[in-house]
Each structure stands twice: as structure tokens, then as C-alpha cells.
Subunit: 252 residues, 2 copies
DNA sequence: GATATAAGTTCCAATTATTGGAAGATTATG
DNA sequence: CATAATCTTCCAATAATTGGAACTTATATC
């Protein structure tokens, strides 16, 4: 967001985004500071949002995201075609392994999580969230999709460009050379792993998902585990069974 | 929404709401018809939404809800205090019974679902959704909360007012007298049931939840079951165990 | 309970943004 | 390739938005 002041609907959407960052609610003055606008202007923006059901006011006059906003988002997600298609697979994997499972797609240099399923039992939650993103080069879902998309070292170098690859953990890949070598391994073995590369303490394996075509993956499916209770070796040993579950549900 | 044409930010929010109704995407002209506006106007509204990350355009020029919108909503929900507080209970119940569980609060004459957890295994999905609502008088969560809030027949009559209580199924309560009698029973037994009253084929039991006070319920927790595989009698027999799980996680 | 402070709400003159018909550009279809 | 469908841009005319000031309500303090 530039230094330029927001106007009209851009400002209302900024207010909506700011509301979402405050699960405990926010006051009018704090919101006005956050979006760099006067109180009457923010008051009118909140009035618009309230009319749409996207904001509400609690008993103390503080503003909260409204029910309708959450209903819209959750209902939309339930009806999303790729979500509907992938859920039987995610349910089967989640039920079988008792770990968090994801479906993600490439989006630029990141992966975006389209679907996520947590087991009911299991105290610790991962930081991924539907609609959220992570760098593709240090996630299992990202690497399996890059293995398909970047078939040689020139393609890998072009993809990296002049960026410095971010390294969320010490185990993260940091250079085009390392990434290329990893993608060669992945193509050879047909799956990708994340050995605490994206998030310390979290392991993951991923395979491609063919939701819309028998030959071009639409995304990738992963099974994650907390390193202390689900070593990567165990996840890797389960790959034949994981593939079988994923393939069994293919529409091909 | 009145017949009056929407302007400015109200229109942008209407476009956002309409986008959410189209998980397969929507074209510009269809959207213009849906929000009763000209194409250039809707085009600018979509441009605002795209700047905020709330809309995106697929390869065919059709518009979809954007990743950022879903991320915001899902991340917000994960951080919502009542959701954080109730999740350990819902996880324990869902793991134990392998059925869908909810936490809901009263909102006017409806209940609003604040949290929902589905078991990984189980083919059929219920229609409830986070942020969504149902009439209080024909849901287990609604009835247990009304039992607490409406202590005598006058209060029940006042609550019904001059409304005709909607009856989503033949088993739904339809009069103030019937509702009062039911609430007396519920107060006596300390739990509520939904014997396919809100949704054909779905049974449910609910108990009050004391997330923020030891004496005033903040909402209700329910365990639902499909009638064909989880008879209501079985859910009722499980109530002592359900209560134990709910109480064990109380912060009191 | 009275007073002060904090926060939300309304007013309205001045200013800026929005609107939609028309036209242009791009994509899809036969 | 021609045509139709759909998305995108332009700009004169029109309407909405803005924020300082003031008002109202709620909360905190003495």
C-alpha cells in the first residue's frame, strides 16, 4: 500500500482488512489511526460494512468482523470446486494418519493452500491457513509442483531470477543450485519432503494431485507431522499407502 | 436491501458478496446484472476488490473471490477468542464420537455457529457453516440457550411475539405453548435435543457452555449425528460422557 | 453522585470521486 | 477470417465523500 491516502471503497476495504486483524475487536479511534483517516470517515466506512453484515458492534462500542463475513467465506470455501473434489482424499488421509493434510497450488513464487484438514485430536496447530501462502521452494507441496514445472537448471535459474530465496529455517534451500538438485531428486522419487525447512518442528511429504487432468497436476496434497512424534522416515515409509489413497480417489 | 441503487462502497461490498455466491467464478456482465449496475461501474468495483486481494481474475477473464479474502476470514476465525477457548472441547468430543460438533450463540431469534468441527471420516456434510444461522427454536443449541433465557411462559410468548415460528421440518415446534413445554423439559433434564427438527435426517444433543462465566452460558455445544447411523437415543445415552468432557475443559 | 475524560456520532460546506454511455480492445466461436 | 461476446478505457456530467467542529454517550476517577 502506497503512501497515498485511500479514498472511497479502497478505504472501506482497508477498514475491513484491519477489522479482520482484530479478533478481539477494535475501537473507532484506533481504527482511524490504523487506516490513516478521520473518525467521521472511518465511522461511515464501518456503517457501510455493518449494512453489509461484514462488521458489528459489541456491547462496549468496539467493532468486530460480522457474522455474514465469516458465513460468506466458509460457505464459499465449502462450495469451491477444487475443495469439493479434493476433500474425499484429504478426509481419507487425515483419518488414516491422524495428521494435518493440505491441498495447495502454485501461485507465482509461492504456494497457496486451497484446503486444509486437521485431525480432531492433536494439540498443536500448524500455522498454515486456507488462502494463506508460503514460499514454494521450502514446502513439500511447492517443491513437488516446481519439480513438474521447472524441468532443467536454466528454468530453475530463471524462476529464482535475482531474488534471494528466503530461508525460514536453517534447513531451507537457499540457492538455485541446491533447488535444482533437490527437484531432480524429487522427479526421480516421485514425491517431495519438507524436513523442517518451512516451519521448525514440522515435517511433511507431498505428492502431486490430478484433480482436473490425468497428466497435469492441478496442485499437490501433503501430509504433515510434528517432528517429535512423526519422524520424516515414518511419513516416507507411508508413501506407498498415501499414493494409493490419492490415486484411488482420482477421477481418472 | 432496498430498491434504491447502491452507490460507492455499498456497491463494492455487494459485488464482494455476490462474488462469494459464485465458487465457479462470474463474468462481468452477469455481475453487472446481479448488482443492477453498469459494466464500467462494476469493473471499477472489481478493480478495488482486486487491489485489496479480495477478487482475482482467472485465465478466462471471469472473476473469483481472492485468496486474501479467504486467508483473512480463516485466520481471523482461528484467532477468535471464543473459538480458541472452545476448540479443545470440540476436538475431544469430535475425536470421541466421530460426529460433527458445534459451538453456537444466540443472536436475536436465531443461533449463530461460532465454531464447527467435522470428523475426517464421514461422507455426508451438514449444512451448518461458521457465521451461519438457524432458528433458535428448532435447534438443540438454540433450545438449551432459550431454556436459560426464557424462564416462564410470558417470556416465551414475548419472545415469539407476533411471528409465525418457521418449521423447517414436520417435527419442528410451531407454537409458543409447545416451545414453553419443551423448555421446561430441557431445564429439568439439563440438555436439549433436536430430533430431526431443524434438518431432516439429522439428530443433535446440546449442553450449555460456560466459556466466560461459571454461571452464565456464553453459548452451547452440540454433537450431531445422522439419524440413520446415530439414533438420538445413543446420543442421549452419551450425555453423561459428553458433559464430563465439556466440564473437564471448563476454565472454572 | 459529580465531574472530567474518552470515545462514538452527526452536521454540512468544500472538495473530490463516481458514474455510465460510447467506444475500443481482446477473446471465443463458427 | 468474420462475427459475436466480453472485458476495458475514456471523460463530461453528476453525485458522493471528506474531515473539522460540535454534539452525545459511556466510562473512569475522585
Amino acid at each position: 500500500m502506497s503512501d497515498a491516502k485511500l479514498v472511497g471503497s479502497d478505504r472501506v476495504l482497508a477498514v475491513l482488512a484491519e477489522l479482520a486483524r482484530h479478533p478481539n475487536g477494535i475501537g473507532l479511534e484506533e481504527m482511524a489511526r490504523a487506516v490513516d483517516s478521520s473518525k467521521p470517515t472511518v465511522h461511515r466506512a464501518l456503517a457501510s460494512l455493518r449494512r453489509a453484515g461484514f462488521a458489528a458492534q459489541n456491547g462496549h462500542g468496539r467493532y468486530l468482523l460480522g457474522n455474514e463475513f465469516l458465513r460468506m467465506a466458509f460457505a464459499h470455501q465449502e462450495a469451491r470446486p477444487d475443495h469439493v473434489r479434493v476433500m474425499p482424499v484429504l478426509e481419507a488421509l487425515c483419518d488414516r494418519y491422524g495428521e494435518t493434510v493440505h491441498y495447495a497450488v502454485l501461485d507465482g513464487t509461492s504456494v497457496v493452500y486451497r484446503s486444509k484438514l486437521d485431525p480432531p485430536a492433536g494439540a498443536v496447530r500448524l500455522t498454515s491457513v486456507v488462502g494463506g501462502r508460503n514460499p514454494a521452494h521450502c514446502t513439500a507441496v511447492g517443491k513437488i509442483l516446481l519439480a513438474e514445472a521447472l524441468r532443467d537448471e536454466d528454468a530453475v535459474r530463471a524462476w529464482v531470477g535475482d531474488r534471494t530465496l528466503e530461508r525460514p529455517s536453517e534447513r531451507s534451500i537457499g540457492t538455485a543450485e541446491e533447488l535444482h538438485a533437490e527437484l531432480v531428486r524429487i522427479r526421480d522419487q516421485g514425491y517431495a519432503t519438507d524436513d523442517q525447512e518451512n516451519e521448525p518442528g514440522v515435517n511433511c511429504v507431498a505428492v502431486p494431485a490430478y484433480l482436473t487432468s490425468p497428466t497435469v497436476p492441478s496442485g499437490a496434497i501433503s501430509v504433515s507431522g510434528l517432528a517429535y512424534r512423526t519422524p520424516l522416515r515414518k511419513l516416507v515409509n507411508d508413501l506407498p499407502a498415501i499414493r494409493a489413497i490419492v490415486t484411488e480417489k482420482d477421477p481418472w
